[in-house]
Symmetry: D3
Subunit: 314 residues, 6 copies
């Protein structure tokens, strides 16, 4: 199977793809056409559908999955698809979402296995029980295997949040021996749960928007409430020191309150302070890494998450 960006100019493409953007145009002879942005795992390409019927104009929407039969042409120096035939995908097509969107370079099952191993290393019975309960929840674990870590800042691709969690756990494991005042169990639980509220702050894994609860409450407090709900279910008192510490780390993981980045409290323990910086490192390395990959041989690129030009290095 070949992906969109692998086709050369002049080739014919028959493939499933995802509609990322859609605009209706009118030619000088007053006939309507569609300007589409189509994407799959390999990236996105623009497409033209001339003389579009009313029916297609209605049925093809952003987030639709369609099957196209098209030619790759050159338009002002870039490849563009000219669609000859098109239809909506049906369930019987069995299209894998993983084929249609950018996806983490690490297989989901490999990440999940690592996650399980780290959970097993949490010695605190209370914290391990909480984490296990979260991960056994069918809805949560289902989402966690698919959701990105954000709309565009970092790990913004299929199961990107899971990758981010495992990456943080790995970093945490490696730094822990150096800083004896950091509490391993709390740090591991924070790595796993700090962004768990994003599974409900975002609408879906494919083309995520912010949900209403997400905008009104925010993922920090949503995550903390989820933890509290589980404590109640498991009969763990909310005032328990480990639970308090975990929630403190979650609520402070955006850094000092004074920065205005949305922490509800400033970090007041070595564990909370360290986690904030680990999270900064992991998210910024991912954002910078994406920029560097796209730059290829270019010496300079631009990373939105840092609002800055970045250098490839030597």
């Amino acid at each position: 199977m070949r992906y969109l960006l692998e086709y050369a100019e002049g080739e014919r493409v028959v493939a499933f793809c995802l509609v990322k953007a859609k605009e209706v145009g009118v030619t000088s002879s007053q006939s309507e056409y569609l300007n589409l942005e189509l994407g799959d795992r390999s990236g996105t390409m623009t497409a033209k559908l001339w003389d579009v019927t009313e029916e297609l104009k209605e049925s093809i929407q952003v987030k639709s999955i369609i099957k196209i039969d098209a030619m790759v042409q050159n338009y002002r120096g870039k490849k563009q698809l000219v669609i000859q035939r098109v239809r909506l995908a049906s369930p019987s097509d069995e299209v894998m979402m993983e084929a249609l969107v950018p996806v983490s370079p690490f297989p989901v099952e490999e990440l999940w296995a690592k996650l399980e191993r780290y959970v097993g290393e949490i010695k605190s019975q209370v914290l391990q029980a909480i984490v296990r309960e979260v991960l056994q929840d069918e809805e949560i674990s289902g989402r966690l295997r698919q959701f990105p870590a954000g709309v565009k800042m970092h790990h913004n691709y299929f199961h990107g949040l899971l990758e981010h969690i495992v990456s943080l756990l790995t970093a945490a494991e490696r730094l822990l021996p150096l800083y004896p005042h950091v509490e391993k169990d709390v740090l591991y639980a924070t790595c796993i749960l700090h962004d768990i509220g994003k599974l409900y702050e975002l609408s879906d894994a494919v083309a995520p928007d912010y949900t209403t609860p997400g905008q009104l409450i925010g993922h920090l407090v949503m995550g903390v409430e989820l933890v509290s709900g589980i404590c109640r279910k498991l009969g763990i008192p909310l005032g328990q020191a480990e639970v308090l510490h975990l929630k403190h780390c979650m609520l402070s993981h955006h850094g000092d309150v004074e920065n205005g980045w949305g922490s509800a409290v400033s970090g007041k323990t070595p564990t909370a302070v360290m986690f904030h910086y680990l999270d900064q490192i992991d998210s910024k390395m991912n954002a910078l890494g994406q920029t560097l990959s796209e730059m290829g041989e270019e010496e300079w690129g631009y990373t939105g998450a840092l609002r800055r030009k970045v250098w490839r290095g030597y």
Copy 2:
């Protein structure tokens, strides 16, 4: 019954009072004495206890209630107590805490009755149920009849928080007819519950410190969790729009996130935005009012909550 500040120079005072501060001094002849700051409802006065015994030195502590027999003297232009006899108060003395600390000018039962009336006006069954459940909780209602609204910024006296709540409700009731997009039920519920977390963020009503959960979680999120706990108990879904709105107003009541004052989200509804300003007005009017009362005939005073000199007006 007369209060401390009502005694004149030269008079003898026999009274109960609260120890607010304590320092051990040594005279040039190497004997020890106590410098105390004693307070009751009327305010505070310094006191000297010469030739203190080891036993008294140990037993008299900050927050102790003591009975003194003392003379009011003039020391560098100010009244000072010179204690002749002193003992710790015992339960049989039946000292009323209200007599020993500054207290709201409004009787607690009058405030509570008003609060009940406002609760009755909440039409949303969900919100009324939540508020009623909170106020019926014995521990919460007990604390609410005693706690200040803060350690020193505003309404920093016995049942000051209750006064603040009723004052906000009254202000809300009066402004609501002007702003039809504000939702009355949510606004009332927010007035009542926005600082409810302070009942657990602060240690006690007499000489409050911050508790450990208070410092790690903060009263905004503590309040929201209390509300969520009640919803679970009452079977109200957390995603219910009114509940979401109430929690949003609670989490945003310190103003825009960018200010760095600890809101977890910025207000995104007319109700949330208005409540923040009402809360600013009510707290600052209280702080300014205290300064103006203390200024007496002075033209200028100083209000710590505004970090600014303030003018008496004409």
Copy 3:
């Protein structure tokens, strides 16, 4: 009489309207046409004038009032006017400006009557004399019956400033009983005069720009100077305490100097501090209200004055 937005697709419109924006376009056959944005009280609609003559191209300008004979068509899902005939309005047409621009929902005479009532309640002879003198000035009272409160932030429509003033007075009246340290006369006078400088900071009521004095001096100081001029005229000493207090409230009504929003001094009295927050409430409720009205059934909208997405509530 029907307004622009009340016409349906396919109908013919003969109406007066205001030119809000104008652009000259060229067709592929090199003939020129006009893209116009036309507005009246009900809102704005785009319009096309094909094959425009040189004369019309010159005479139709932004802020022109024109009479059109046009058809409502559908263009990419929105209503658009295609103009068949057009001419400039002449004085004999007796077009009412109120029909051509968005206008406060409250009749100007009703607002003025309320304003007069509040003026009557000012007990300070000095402050009442100042306020009466301002309102009796023909130019000022003429402008006050027309000017918006701003170019786009809030109350940005015909006699919006007057509505804002009356709304503030009403809010002030309602909150005053709660806060005894606030001086009613000064608060009322500040409500009326705080933005009076805007009548000269802005160029006109229909399509306001900033005037040169407005940009060089700003409406806070302009208003204070206007008050001082009137004091001189009436023989009121500038050092008089009430006058000083009024001017202090005017100069501090944008909040603390440190915020950098243009207050010349920070508020140092209960009256000044409260007024700033009342002004914030009234302006933001208006801005949010406009957004919510435009949103209709949408759950989320955007309010420029808050730079934020806003929620409709439940």
Copy 4:
């Protein structure tokens, strides 16, 4: 005549001086004494008045001028006065205030003559008339010959404001040829009038406090109102471009509004922008110069106006 700091240890001093600070102390034998800080033009010295009478304790106040007969002693490595005899100065003593406070190094008449010369160079009749009218006012010119430019930041000594003005005029004269877009007349008038409001913002020239109008209105707006009053008196229209420009420069001379330093508007002309920086240079050079003078041979000192350690240079 010798000044306080010129006397050596062991010498007897008979001199007039100003009381800068006063504290009542009590010896271990319960007798009272005064700790004074006494000053004259040369600086300040501490003084002890043992066994003070009730009468002297009352009559000697901060800002009193007293005549002392005292011995210079060494107290912990520093010179200290021990007062033997003391009385309040009487009018017949004809003590010159200039002898009692730090004073500008430039004679007042020399500064005034320079000021007059610069006024004569203002070609704009309107601006020259305004400036002349200000300087001819008896009260203003009287104060201008005495007032400091501030309480402690810079030029904080007798006729310091006049020195600051002349220094700014000289700097302006020298830079004008380089920047042709700067308007000389406006710049000169701004140099002279920018801080004229300080003559009423401060209470007096000897030991200045902030006045009530000073704190409520601030010297920027006070100065602008003074200019407007003069325009009215002289029949100059307030909307006149030169007057507008002068007032704009006065209102913006604390820099950009966003800085939160109290400008009412940000500078929008070359003249306004340049003046702000000239004012910064002149005030900071004065503050730094004072620090360097006091440092003597020390390599490092501290300048409060910059909140920073400063270096003597090589």
Copy 5:
């Protein structure tokens, strides 16, 4: 010789010019054309090249120098060139770069002579040696005769940096007599060297970009390193007080560190503090002057360097 902007509508232009921007367009008949922005010393004009050949499409690039034969036409009220013939310039054309880009109004040799005179006035042998060594470097002096002071903020034209330096020296010379604590030699050396790093921070004098070292190190530190390198070459110890002072002034010339404008240290001497403000004056007067020149008769313009509308004055 006439420059681009001196030609009137309808005239024929045969001239050399610089390509500032280039875009390929497609007509409705699918033929390609070029939209160009062409410039010379007088400014820029848009140009159309219809029916462009593949070869020209490739060879004409941004920064190319071309010779055109074109007609000036009116397009939507502005002059536009329609190119009939075009070719790339060749070395034999001997086009002077000064004819193709905006250039300082002061002749380079006049500026250089002034610079030499100021260097001669530096009395410190150490500082004079450093400055002379810099200016004798062939590469540096070559660049200094061509480079702008920046990409777009101020003195953004041919040998603009040299003009800025001489302007600063003149201002410094004029203010020095007023401020005796400022060290003339250090100030002069700082005027000359403060932006010397820009000669390597920017790529070239014609269409400057930031170089890689420029972005990674910045012109402040680059300049300081250049000075240190010269000290080593001349055998001047780096710890020498004058050298230390010069480097301090260079490193602090963007103002206080806390501003976040890139100073590595805050200015701690009168010389350093004054230089920062002189630099602000000179750069902002230049930026404002350019805006005012372009405004012509307009009352208001916009200066990007101040992010603000600016007024022409009276």
Copy 6:
């Protein structure tokens, strides 16, 4: 050998210690005494020297090493030394500085061996040569075995900087495998050299002050200049990519320029961005660790480097 804090009340102490603070007091009988703060490796204790001679008063200075014969007494609940006999230490006493000041818990030779190992892992010949050259310099390596990493923020004890460097290298080594875009050689060299300028920014290892070059240039630029000097010595071009990258990381290690913490440029590579956060983690974990150690059984303490109360955790 026992340290100061190991002696109990009532014991006699004969020991060397360092004078950390000194104050001359006067008893009511006018005799002078010294209040000293004495310290050794274990911490500090206050001490009284009654009836001090003129000679001792002069010879005992801050930073003096003295030998005392004293009794440990209880003074207001704390241990205090009452000195019976005292003399200055002489070289023949052979007092080890390590015994007199707080010192890193890690032996210097162990740290140095680890440092050498990391240097050996730098594969880039250029970077390894630079690092080796720095470490072979006798003065630098001598200082590096003694200097703290700062006056009081973190690693503020004997050879604290060396401990900080080795700790950073260890952390870097552990995280490198996770982030492939980070350049190991540059990161290692930055760990070693980022604070190397502190060896000259601070005066000495025992009671460090800021040096004049330290205050005028700052340790970031001082370190970069040291690197450049070595490059010149070794014939490595300054424009070499690895050198540029190393210097970029050094100049940006205080975070974004906009923060105003003194970075000369903002980090623009994965290596620079990561290093900043690693440095934050290592310094804050050290500061927090010191607080937690001092807290003992207390639940809450205070960390100056974070300006915040900190929690012990569970």
